[in-house]
């Protein structure tokens, strides 16, 4: 048995083995905790944006906007964001499990904790309007975002079917004509004399709106209903 002690010390000296510095362990721990926190926050953002899109989606309650059940599912549920949220929760679980004391918790406990924190933080973020702001930032800066993550533009950029969305860039209350810049940057004249303007909509410059009606020509659209960009059918009924 003495050999073990002797041989170990000999090997340490011969190979000049040194203890790994403490800062490396601290750095590794901090990285794991940092990644855990980041993924938890990303999961919360994912949940917040899922809530926001779900709450702003007319398709969920207005089935006339879609052709069939499959389209209803695809367009009404923010599937991509929900999947992304689940992915972040999984990565957060993996990170937590690799913290110094992660092994002390069961898989169920860690998942429950991650899910509860993501939901609570997500609800708070959504409550403070952060999800809407982030969604706008992503929509403006991430290519294909509006065709993958937030499909509302796919629903509301169909002027030929009577659906149009954009931001008000000019208002003429005498002639009852609005100018909007649609989600693709095209300018439209909107005739809104006979339109129902839902309660939450304020017709002012910069207001984001959705319009139901029909395209009169290539750049003229006759509105029968103007809805706020944010919000779904139920909210609009309550506010109209």
């Amino acid at each position: 048995m003495e050999e073990v002690s002797k041989n170990t010390l000999q090997q340490i000296k011969k190979e000049n083995i040194k203890p790994i510095p403490k800062w490396q362990f601290l750095l590794k721990d901090s990285l794991v905790w940092g990644l855990f926190a980041i993924n938890l926050i990303l999961g919360s953002i994912g949940f917040a944006i899922s809530l926001y899109i779900l709450g702003s989606n007319d398709v969920l309650l207005d089935t006339s906007l879609v052709k069939n059940a499959w389209e209803w599912i695809i367009l009404s549920i923010p599937i991509a964001w929900i999947l992304l949220t689940i992915l972040f929760v999984f990565i957060a679980y993996y990170n937590f499990k690799h913290t110094k004391e992660g092994y002390r918790f069961t898989v169920v406990k860690i998942f429950l904790m991650n899910i509860v924190v993501s939901i609570v933080l997500g609800v708070v973020m959504n409550g403070f309007g952060l999800s809407q702001k982030l969604n706008t930032i992503f929509s403006d800066h991430i290519p294909f975002y509006n065709h993958t993550m937030d499909l509302r533009s796919d629903i509301w950029m169909r002027p030929e079917s009577g659906y149009l969305a954009g931001t008000i860039v000019d208002i003429n209350s005498d002639t009852k004509i609005l100018k909007i810049e649609d989600l693709k940057g095209k300018i439209w004249d909107i005739l809104y004399q006979d339109a129902t303007v839902k309660g939450r909509v304020v017709l002012e410059l910069g207001e984001e709106i959705k319009i139901v009606g029909n395209a009169v020509s290539d750049n003229v659209f006759e509105a029968s209903e103007i809805r706020p960009w944010v919000g779904n059918g139920r909210q609009m009924q309550e506010n109209s």
Partner: protein
């Protein structure tokens, strides 16, 4: 003046000394080598030479990672954990090896398992330690290890949890499953 750790010194105090002077490592090795030697043999059923090789690797790894030891926890659990990891690595590298159940370790210690598992009534009270030793050898390594830690090393659930890096609740179910498997093999 030469420093010499006394028996009263805690493991952590010796760890701090080692970080200053590697030669003091021998005091910690002396404190644990016998325990770990027996532990490795009990869970791996390897010969003396393999056991010493594994043990040496354990002490080298422990030395490299000495700064990661957190004095909030038991040093014993920490070094047993490293030993457990080395044992797993050994098993992975030697999947097709034959267990050396002939080796002459302290066989009488295996009596503890039979009595603690409460299977004396089941016609094995007259078994000698060698038979218990043989039954244990037939168990999966994870069940054998948890029985060894609980009944031979006499570790509590928290210590086993720290060594195997599983939640304490899982330790309980592992022990129960291991006991069931042991009983089935006895029958």
């Amino acid at each position: 003046m030469k420093r010499s750790p006394t028996k009263e010194k805690t493991d952590y105090e010796i760890v701090l000394q080692i970080l200053e002077n590697v030669d003091d490592y021998k005091y910690l090795i002396e404190r644990y080598e016998k325990k770990l030697f027996i532990y490795i043999q009990r869970i791996l059923y390897v010969n003396k030479e393999d056991t010493e090789d594994i043990l040496q690797e354990v002490f080298i790894k422990a030395y490299r990672n000495l700064n990661s030891y957190d004095p909030k926890y038991n040093f014993s659990s920490w070094i047993y954990r490293i030993t457990h990891n080395e044992a797993i690595s050994f098993l992975r590298a030697n999947k097709k090896r034959q267990l050396d159940i002939s080796n002459d370790m302290e066989n009488n210690i295996f009596d503890t398992i039979a009595s603690d598992i409460d299977i004396e009534k089941e016609a094995i009270k007259d078994w000698d330690s060698k038979k218990v030793h043989e039954v244990l050898a037939k168990l999966d390594e994870k069940y054998r290890e948890v029985l060894v830690l609980k009944y031979i090393e006499e570790k509590d659930y928290n210590e086993i949890s720290d060594i195997l890096q599983v939640p304490s609740g899982t330790v309980g179910s592992l022990i129960n499953r291991a006991k069931d498997k042991f009983k089935k093999l006895v029958k």
